[in-house]
Amino acid sequence: MLSPTLITVALAAAMIGALAGVLGSFLVLRGQSLLGDVIAHASLPGVVAAFLISGGRGFFAILAGALIAGALAGLSVQALRRGAGVKPDAALGVVLSLFFAAGVVLLTLAQTRGGSAGLTVFLFGQAASVLRADLLPMALVGGGVLVVLALFWKEFQFLAFDPEGARAQGLPVARLEVLLTLLIAVTIVLGLTLAGVVLMVALLIAPAVAARQWVRGLAPMVWLAALFGALAGTGGAVISAIGQGVATGPVMVLAAVALAALSLLLAPERGILARRTRQAQARKSLRGRQVLAALGGLESDHANPGYAGDQAMLDAYLGTDAGPVLARLQREGYVRPASLPPEPGARRWELTEAGRQRLEAPDA
């Protein structure tokens, strides 16, 4: 049941998802995730204005309109922050809501003029509305973005890590920032028909966050984010194309967020589970050392190698039941139950030779 429509949709979604993952990585690393949200929302008036002016949904007209609006929004955020001293979060909120309001007004204007049925897809995205004829221009523009990114790869890497260091070496940081933001805006605009203005931000952020957890370098992160984005995009678009009346954006976003959630939990080095396990192990080995040290301390206190410590005393020392720790240490051969006849109701433990060695060894 591979209909041509489905192939078109899957191809487009894979392209957009991959591109969003790549550029989103830079947004995440520079701490500018919400700027992506603002640019996406703000492109709505541009889309509708382009429609009103050109009278149709031509690929390049919509692209140009959205891009102009998105760029204006980015500049407005800058101007509000630098020029008027508005705090960053407030500047983002102001620009997002005002541009979106302008979009809504223009949208109703387009509706009263008729023939705007295709415009509301930009709110949540509709995979089925992607035309076969859009694929080639989409690939060309997206490819162009990637080429520019590759050309300035090392500069963008430097900029994302240490803008001040980059400036000290004479790189034109301000201009590079504008270029990078422009590339991100183009990516957002390309994705609008699929993901919609409201949810596009998650398609940028989620694959990048997911990828970050598995890798140690920027290039691997970007490749993996592209893969995650393509997976989420294709999966979401195909599901939405098969299911009747399900908007594409939400499904794509949920797929991408699921990947991010799994990565945050399961990634081998950084993942939450791995970290918990490490912490538990560290705690366990610390407990073990504490018990060994306590037994050793009692030995030397009593000047009696082979002095057996009372378990109740160890309980009090650890502040919790020492039984499980002692059982483990016994399994590992570091302690043994005292061989002298125990007093009734008291359990005593003593260090083995291995335990004494472990106690003297530097931290393992």
């Binding site: 090392k154 240490d162 890798v215 140690r216 370098g217």
Partner: protein, 255 residues
């Protein structure tokens, strides 16, 4: 300006004034650092030490004044300058290996469109050996301790093979072993004929570590060889109200 202006001075600053929000934070700074010294810039909090370095490097625009490095404007002398920013100024959770960060030191020299190749990687490895981090090249930077982060940053500056090094508080928050290693590393750079300028916060160690001293408190209080400048009068002028703390210092030159 094409002609060289004071070419025999490593770093020549004349009448530099820098404002933040229209209020000057550095006043009419005249500064000369001769080549081949290891200089400390000291002064109380808010004295503008970091700002001075940033202004010299052209990262902060001055209201007035000019800077020459070996007689040239900074923009033309970038290849001869290396800069180690404060360690906390970047996100150490960034996905990069130690080698990636050191290679960034060569990005300015490489120019547009060229990628670091085998020669650059060899240079990076050599710089890491100088700071004793050669075994860490493939480590992600998020796994480094504070002292190791600082060594990586210094390696990034060393790989530039610059004649003039600026370091902003390289000894802040590192352990004693790292501090000693950094100092001997920087002294070796000086002995190789380079000029080292360090923003420093610990007056106790100034006389032991450095041979040139700049005392700053929004204005230049004093500058010159440590033995001449490190006097109680100058300290009083620079630190004013904080002098109670300094009173306990031994003002000896046991360098």
């Amino acid at each position: 300006m094409n002609t060289l202006h004071e070419p025999h001075i490593a770093c020549h600053v004349e009448d530099l004034t820098v404002s933040y929000r229209e209020r000057p934070v550095l006043w009419d700074i005249d500064l000369d650092i001769p080549p081949g010294v290891m200089a400390a810039v000291v002064g109380p909090n808010g004295a503008g030490k970091s700002t001075l370095i940033k202004a010299i490097l052209g990262l902060v625009p001055p209201v007035a004044g000019h800077v020459r490095v070996f007689g040239q404007p900074v923009a033309q002398a970038r290849r001869r300058i290396a800069y180690v920013p404060q360690r906390q100024s970047v996100d150490w959770d960034f996905p990069a290996t130690v080698r990636d960060v050191v290679l960034m030191g060569l990005y300015g020299k490489l120019g547009w469109l060229r990628r670091p190749g085998r020669a650059e990687k060899a240079k990076a490895q050599a710089a890491l050996e100088q700071v004793g981090m050669q075994d860490y090249a493939a480590r992600p930077i998020s796994q480094l301790s504070g002292g190791q982060q600082q060594r990586v940053f210094i390696a990034r500056a060393l790989v530039q093979e610059a004649d003039l090094l600026f370091l902003d508080e390289p000894m802040a928050g590192v352990d004693a072993v790292t501090e000693a290693a950094i100092v001997s590393l920087l002294k070796a750079q000086r002995d190789a004929g380079r000029t080292v300028v360090v923003v420093h916060h610990d007056l106790q160690t100034v006389a032991r570590y450095f041979d040139w001293l700049v005392m700053l408190n929004q204005r230049i209080i004093a500058q010159g060889p440590v033995a001449e400048v490190y006097t109680e009068d100058n300290l009083r002028a620079a630190y004013g109200g904080q002098l109670a703390l300094i009173g306990t210092l031994r003002l000896s030159d046991d360098a």
